[in-house]
Symmetry: T
Subunit: 169 residues, 12 copies
């Protein structure tokens, strides 16, 4: 294996450019997780119905997990000599996860979650590629988070299948 | 005591107008708490220094408390037949709590927290007044949250005094 | 604020008449909670079906909470120099919460819970009014219980909406 | 040992008549436990005095245990294809456990508990006999509950002896 | 009561033949539980859908309980001087609990669980009969396990009723 | 409801006079609780006898609760821009709670506790009145503490009744 | 099934003779457990060696269990209107469980445990027989204890086999 | 301070005589604690009455503590190269702690406990003296146990005073 | 690093062939773990002897760990759009882990465990290779499991060395 | 070693004079600890500033420890046949621990703590000397408390050094 | 991906040379962690001052973490067929982490920690490179440890910045 | 008892010489414990075999205890105005505790532990003598640690006896 890493790896002086590009990717990931926290609080309360209860509970349990992801991203930004951004730089993008017109429409929430998770999976897959061989610590951390998001997406895809089978989605 | 409450109080048909105006106040409170969560995660990571450590830990411990407040506001909105808003309606306002130019500048963070808490105290004081005698449940819940915020503000005012005494703020 | 409270407030000699009328209200509340305990045990076991499972679990979790309410009411009656009544004075009133003809009929249970909670909310709202400025301790305690019941009712209203939307209720 | 049990024992088709008669016995037991819960809440609050404190605490600790018994009876009724009855079918019978005229009269409470426990012991002894060789699961469950009730009765018989020895009962 | 038990009961020399026949019954029970563990892991993961979620969770919670049963059977075989069999002697029999063709078909899983539990109930009922008066320890242990299995079967029968009522099973 | 509260309520500049008068009331309350801690430690050790044991345990359990009250009062004084006083300003007033001449005289302790609790109830009732509509946070906090003290007093009144009935008090 | 039980079963007046004979059996069992506690404390300390360590730990863990058995026997004696005997009536019988001449002789301890457990198993098997159909509560309790003792004996029989295989026992 | 300790203190070759005399004292202590365990189990069950309840609970809580003392004595005997004795060497001496003629006679139990504790205090005081300057580890351990026993004796002396004051002892 | 991963990595449409081949490897791993669970239950009970106790405990502690591995494999199969197989597809292969002819032969068990772990290590090493750069999430999960298995194998290799040194293996 | 101790040591009749003089020393210690509790509550709230936070937390954590010391002193007074004094005998002496003029002056608090701890160390050192050879139980208890106080004093001496180094103290 | 791994990967016969070179790297890492444990204990006690308190606590919390790392390295050495070295092979290298001349000099400690962590990061980065593709288990373990060390170094770099800003470092 | 202690005991100015000589003894003890930690980590991993397992576990459990001792010694050095030494002053002396030539040689480890403990016992016995009457706090702390070390040594002496008996040591 050829390698041009400095003695302290990604924290080395000579790696600063690469480091900064990773920091930018992590900032985007940071805000993705925070927006998810926000919308999961919202969606753990709004929907009505017995089946919605299961969806709401799944969403509510994930709030802490997603907040934990955000905190991991923030800590890693700091470790890579970056500055964690404030709320003024936040821009909402999860348009599919906004409240439904009718709170009985739990399919709306399910699709919103799948959409948000798919976006996260794409972005984190890219971080895994970008950090290959240059920053194994970030890579390892993101792979673990990626696993969580794949699990969530697959769970909600399963939820969706039921409604599709019933002709409701 | 004169009272025009219906038999089910604030959940009654005849109270719907009052109820909607309370819901609007709660939505504002909901986003205030969520923005605080966001900026507290940021400010529990960014600052440098030994004394900053104390500030960071105070801020980090409050993240869960503030998130809990947001969840209480969300649940109350739902109980009052309102709809909890999604991230697209979120607008950042805590301009004092953005990251400092130099992460060693912990006074910046302290002032930002005081500013945010003062804003919350004003808004929650108003909710307490608005709900007087018409919605004791919301009032009781908000008084408890108000107590938390007063405690936070006073703690950070104390932090600030040290730097003022040292001529650094 | 004009006030005619004695030095020990509601426990004073001169407040005895008011105190007794509050005790009567609390006795009614006490039996309401105990009947709810009884019917929640019943309804946490009887219904059949996957969705019923969610309803049964919600009901089962509330048993302890409602029993706790009953114990709070009993303790307060004692504190106000009253005597907690025995089972011979109990009269069942929750006719909507009796077992359905078919245990698969979970809508029956949901409607029964809403009916019982609505009755409690009306009675507790009245206690909050009656204790205003004369017995803040009872008032504070009942507001907290009222909050719980509002939350339960709204949850089951949400359950009902799903069945209404499906044309089953 | 001669046995006419079907292949699934008490749950078999051919055992339905026997099963129904057991269910009836269990319903009676179910209400006995619920009335005990009710009167134990009452008697864990009403009595006055230092020695009453010991009695009140014994009674209060048993509330959870008796509620647990009620839930076991309810679950078993369901398992035996019965329907757990609602509050409208409840009839109070523990006339000895009603509040005393004077709350300082703790002997009244002690005698009431003994009376209620003796009633339970008689009924559960009968269930043990009725289920012999036909429903070992119900029998096993009821023997365990019977053990609890025997222990309670003996404890309160011991309490009573003290007052008898003092000439107060 | 006439009895020909030796002084150490089922562990006595003279009871060896009876003991061996009980051991054979326990080996069958041991493999039943292990196959259930295997299929419950499978069925706690495969099914899709919101309602399936409730079923999956019920199944997943039981994995530990069933494994515990298997360990109890293994320990009892050893106590009765038998040898617990290894995987080479295992033969799968729960053909109804194999994965469905379509993972949305949760009725398939429910029926499979009922079938497996019914088989267990029949076999354990027989053990209870066989051990009557000769091995009360095994009998007592199996009655407790039998109770668990009856409860599981009745729960899943309740699940099934919902789908039957909806015309889906 | 007419109100002249400033935007930050009781923490506002214009409320400073009212605030200071509340702080004075809280200082008195603070020392009341501390004296109670002191005398409860004393009275949880001194008395002799089996019945005294029950009294001592009641008193010992309350030590932590009363200390917690003192800490709440201290924190609130600080939040209202006051200074918590030191031991030099402390003056003992609970003359009824001093050790009895004979440690077997548990009635002495019971009466002392009732006297101290009655004094606290009077003072806290006054704080509740004084803070009405001007400082809901303090009011809410004090109502909760008032509830605790009412419960204690009623328990010890019950203890006293036993001795009265026996002609020993 | 023919039965001559009174309405309260074993606690009935007419069962007093049978009850007393059971109490005598329970007293013997009570002292057996206490002697086991005593010798297990001794044998959890005396032996030397690495393999002895495993034996000592097995023995030490059982101390609490055996003490628990003793307390169960004591409680049951009381419930059956008997009097638990004091230390003056105690007579040691476990001559095989006394300290070995050489503390390295762990086989001595193993054989002593087997001997003591075999004695317990014989006695408890007799109690199970004596209580059949007349005192199911005692029977049920003793069966559970019997199960524990069978498990202990079989474990130590296994230990012994190793030494036999090595030609040391 | 003159000292003739060897380099390893009490474990040294030259200290063997002294060590053996300490071991003899510890054996006596060991059996004292075990007899106390035995009689405390008995006395935590036998007495009748409300006040007896307080005594029984005090005694029952101490069972674990006394057993712990016995285990400490056993371990120390072993550490000093002694052999912990078995049950055959046990001789009962606590004649005052045997069951009373009438179980309502709780004074009998109280006096028995005081007598047993006084015996322990005398013996342990002697061990403290004998180990002075020669075996600080044993001394330290016994002082801590002595403290426990002094506390127990003083508590039961307090209990006794109540009955003396009532003219019952 | 050259890469042909799609935007969602291994979950992408274009990766389906690779995904299916990974799923096949995971199914084999899934059954390996389940067979290990089965044989570890068996081997945690069968062997006799003091040293066998250590082996049995090591094996018993691993049951939960191995079951957890099986559940991780099952979950990952589902996440990769596969179907977890049922018991009918299970085929036993661990012929070395079957019960020994003589239960005192613990070397038999040790060799069986080493054999089973070696097989797992080979298979998991292959999965790690196959998932390199195409499915980092599966790779990361399997590396962690591989670590566990390496640790187990090395522990049992150490056990075996003792018997080899003694000439018993 | 010459000794004139009676058979029960410090609790003996002949030791009563010595015992009383120890009781007097313990009373002083008791009030020292209670005054510390009082001033530590005060000083855990008053100071302002980031560095003050560290001091406040150290002080707050010690409140429970100091209260525990007070309770130990009280219990020992009782064990030595003394009477624990009430609040009327309390006299404040810790003049250095009163609130500073300016709450930003944390050096004031630090010096106050050192002063109070030094006083305690002197007094407890004296008790250790006075109890030498006559009351090893009290001595042992006080040595443990003395250790705590030495640790506190040294910590705050360290705090002070920082301010001295900065020229602020 | 080209690979020449044997079937059991790094544990294979053919990998022995590579394995031994990894073991050497792990031994160095093992001693680095143990020296850190040693110096962290030292530095968690020595420094004086309020700000030092924060540093000391950070260091103390890490002791367990670093010890855990050492244990992981030791276990991995064993798994790779190496022998963990003893204290005689230990050589101290962290000359920057020795005690300062003046314990008030906390900058000395901070710089020492940064120096030690930087050394660890360099060494672990090298292990990550050396194990790439040949020993993923070691690599995965070391990446996780590397993450911890990066986080520590960055925290102390932040601490240092404060002193630099104050012109003290 | 003659005494020349100053008012603050060992912390007094006039005791400085004595204090320094105690500090030197504590430094030696400090490094003894740290070397033990180091070698116990090593010896909790290296040995092979079933019986070695018991030894390894005993050693591993003691790591935390020995580390705790080291931290106690460090804290006491600081309290006595000493400076805890750094790793550069460490010199290894436990030559008997280095890894054996063959990891199957567990007797090597056992003897090494006994040798190290004996060394500690000698040194601590000396500290106990040196601190007699001048520093009871250090003495008390060291006696407790001495007790632990005596217990460890005796346990391993017991282990050794088994191998001696088998002719292997």
């Amino acid at each position: 294996m050829e390698t041009n890493r400095g003695s302290e790896g990604i924290l080395s002086e000579e790696m600063s450019e690469k480091r900064e590009s990773i920091v930018e990717l992590l900032k985007t990931a940071y805000f993705m997780e925070l927006e998810t926290v926000m919308n999961y609080v919202t969606n753990s309360v709004n929907p009505d119905g017995v089946r919605a209860q299961e969806v709401k509970e799944s969403v509510e349990e994930d709030i802490q997990e997603e907040l934990g992801h955000a905190q991991q991203f923030a800590a890693r930004i700091k470790e890579l000599y970056g500055v964690v951004p404030g709320s003024m730089e936040f821009e909402a993008v999860q348009d599919k996860l906004q409240p439904a017109d009718d709170q009985i429409d739990v399919v709306h929430t399910i699709k919103g979650v799948i959409d948000a998770e798919a976006g996260a999976i794409q972005h984190y897959t890219r971080i895994v590629e970008e950090t290959e061989e240059v920053d194994p610590v970030t890579q390892d951390m993101v792979i673990a988070i990626l696993h969580d998001e794949q699990g969530h997406m697959r769970l909600f895809e399963g939820f969706l299948r039921e409604y599709v089978a019933e002709g409701k989605a």
